[in-house]
């Protein structure tokens, strides 16, 4: 018995239904369209900690907490700006003077050959690596500090190889994401069920949103590979990020899954979420991204719309080699 509070296993369908009944009762009692749910608002709503278990905020429940920010969508606001980011490992300059802009409501692509420094860029942004130089501004303020601090500021990410908590249930994994944004349940730390009912509802809805159809109560380690990516994406979304960084999210997905992934990304973009995407599948990147940054040898060799990038000789050179460019 190591550590796990296997929540997913302790809640049966019957129990869950009863939980839903109570939620419904709460709906009736308060007002038709407010919900007793804090998670969506936890980051933005200061009074998240001073009322009862349910009625944390009085905002409309939304699947997309990022759209709560200011109440409406404000597409095209510059959310993340990276200036002159550099890092080296030993004698290898992994990133050199990288410049990058990410706007809300848009999917921004980062492409480049293997080893170009794309994942290193993500690791620098999420605080796992300390860059040698450069400034990163996020949401109007410098982005600094430990990975956990950055995550709480709304920086969600996935990894090239999915890093789920393998012995925890899928639901527990998602609840972890929920906790990034919302600590209102921390008073129920010794009675996990009570404080978590709203979060569980939220996790279920987000699992459905990303198209996870499996059982939420199985250990995450037992999932097939394609589902690992989906669940990791859901977990990141549960954290209500304002910027979502996805590291090769479509690799290992089959055509159908990739298709629904594109649909999901469009939907999230419409909600006002900013997405930064590393991907090798060019068709997908070209179709999805508003702007693309091309990295090669740790340097930005091109930046612009998909059309610009495809026409760029340097890019064709970097991807296909010299003769394609020459031909």
């Amino acid at each position: 018995m190591t550590g796990a509070g296997p929540l997913g296993r302790r809640i049966t369908p019957a129990g869950r239904q009863r939980g839903r009944d109570v939620m419904a009762a709460w709906h009736r009692l308060t007002d038709g369209d407010t919900v007793a749910v804090g998670p969506a608002d936890g980051t933005t709503n200061g009074n998240g900690h001073d009322s009862g278990p349910g009625p944390v905020g009085r905002r409309p429940m939304s699947l997309a907490p990022w759209s709560v920010d200011g109440g409406g969508r404000e597409d095209g606001r510059e959310l993340l700006s990276v200036e002159n980011l550099s890092i080296h490992f030993g004698g290898v300059q992994a990133l050199r003077d990288v410049r990058l802009r990410v706007r809300t409501g848009e999917v921004t692509g980062v492409i480049g050959p293997n080893g170009a420094g794309k994942s290193t860029l993500f690791n620098c942004l999420s605080g796992l690596l300390q860059p040698d130089a450069g400034t990163v501004t996020f949401d109007g303020a410098p982005l600094r500090g430990a990975p956990s601090v950055r995550a709480r500021r709304g920086l969600g990410r996935t990894f090239q190889t999915p890093r789920l908590f393998r012995s925890l249930s899928v639901l527990d994994n998602l609840l972890f994401g929920c906790e990034t944004a919302d600590w209102s349940g921390h008073r129920y730390v010794f009675d996990p069920r009570l404080g978590r009912l709203p979060q569980i509802e939220r996790a279920e809805r987000i699992a459905a949103l990303v198209g996870f159809r499996g059982d939420l109560s199985v250990p995450a380690g037992s999932l097939p590979f394609g589902d690992l990516r989906t669940v990791e994406l859901a977990r990141a979304l549960c954290g209500a990020p304002s910027l979502l960084m996805l590291d090769e999210p479509a690799s290992g997905l089959d055509a159908d899954q990739a298709q629904s992934f594109v649909g999901l990304m469009r939907e999230l973009g419409d909600m006002g979420l900013a997405v930064l995407l590393i991907e090798h599948d060019m068709a997908l990147v070209m179709g999805l991204c508003k702007r693309i940054t091309v990295l090669d040898f740790g340097q930005v060799i091109a930046e612009g719309t998909p059309e610009d990038v495809q026409r760029n000789e340097t890019v064709v050179h970097a991807y296909l080699g010299r003769s394609a460019a020459r031909a």
Partner: protein, 354 residues
Amino acid sequence: MSITDVTTDVERAVQGAIRTAASSVASSATTPALTRRARLSRLVGGVVLAALLATLPFTMHWAGPAFAVDYGLIVAMAVLSISVLGWIGEISLAPVAQMGFGVVAVNVCQVHHIPFGFTLPIVALSSLPISLLLAAFTLRLKGVSFAIATLAFAYMAHKTFFLEYLGTYGAFGGTGTTQVARPSFVRTDESMYYLELAVLIAVALVCYAINRSRVGARFTALRESEMAFSTLGHPPAAYRFFAICLSGAIATVAGALFVYLQLQVPSNLLLPAQAILFFGYAVAGGLGSVTGALAAGAVFGAIPKYLETLTKSEFLNYDLFVIGLVVFVVMMKAPGGLAEIGRRVWRRVEGSPA
């Protein structure tokens, strides 16, 4: 009546409703799964265990004095403090040294005439500086390196401090006191057993609660992927510090009880190598398991003492050999230790599919 009052009333009503729902959520999960046989065996098992725990010093009187089982409980606590670090996947070999600081803390309390009621909480708090020092190591050291660092610390504590302060015979250097006095209500070893049991149960309940809470799940997550853990907004260092402080507090309290039991603790009972033995117990119990640690600690702690009496001191130090074998068997056959074996057996008793 203002608007806010109405809201609070509604809130209270709904709070009540949610509580009810939550409790039914909990009960509905377990009730239908249990067969009659399982319920019966749980009841019988619980009663037998409670009865055994309540009378252990007396029921075991044929085998030896109550001191043996008292010692077993202290070992159980020390092993628990090692096992708890299994939550964050680290190995510490410092708990025996921390026990030593508990011994010293009790003596200091006694010199300053602090009543017994305050002593244990003070001892628990006094473990913090050393725990924080050890925890600072985990900022940079993980795994084997951390284990070596704790071992070096234990070695230093023994050689530079316990040897001086406790000496070969357990006298307290410079204080004029040669031994600790037990509080009046635990004059006998039998009554000491109940004091220990009470403390142990309290500590175990705290551990269970933490393990089952969201913090427990976070420990698991931290162990499985620190990168995912930190990029989801949780500070890994905080959880490491918490686990190490908890472990330190348990070990230090165990040390305090140890000196109450022994009255004198000579420094050679606090050898760093002793921690390796306790770690062996923790492995046998199943690292990270509270029940396993308690069971393994109590059994492996008490049995050699009983055997010592039964065989008229012919049996000495055989426990090293035995526990060595047990560690092998556990590593190869049941990496989860006694806890895993216990669960397997229990499933069979209950008659539910494994």
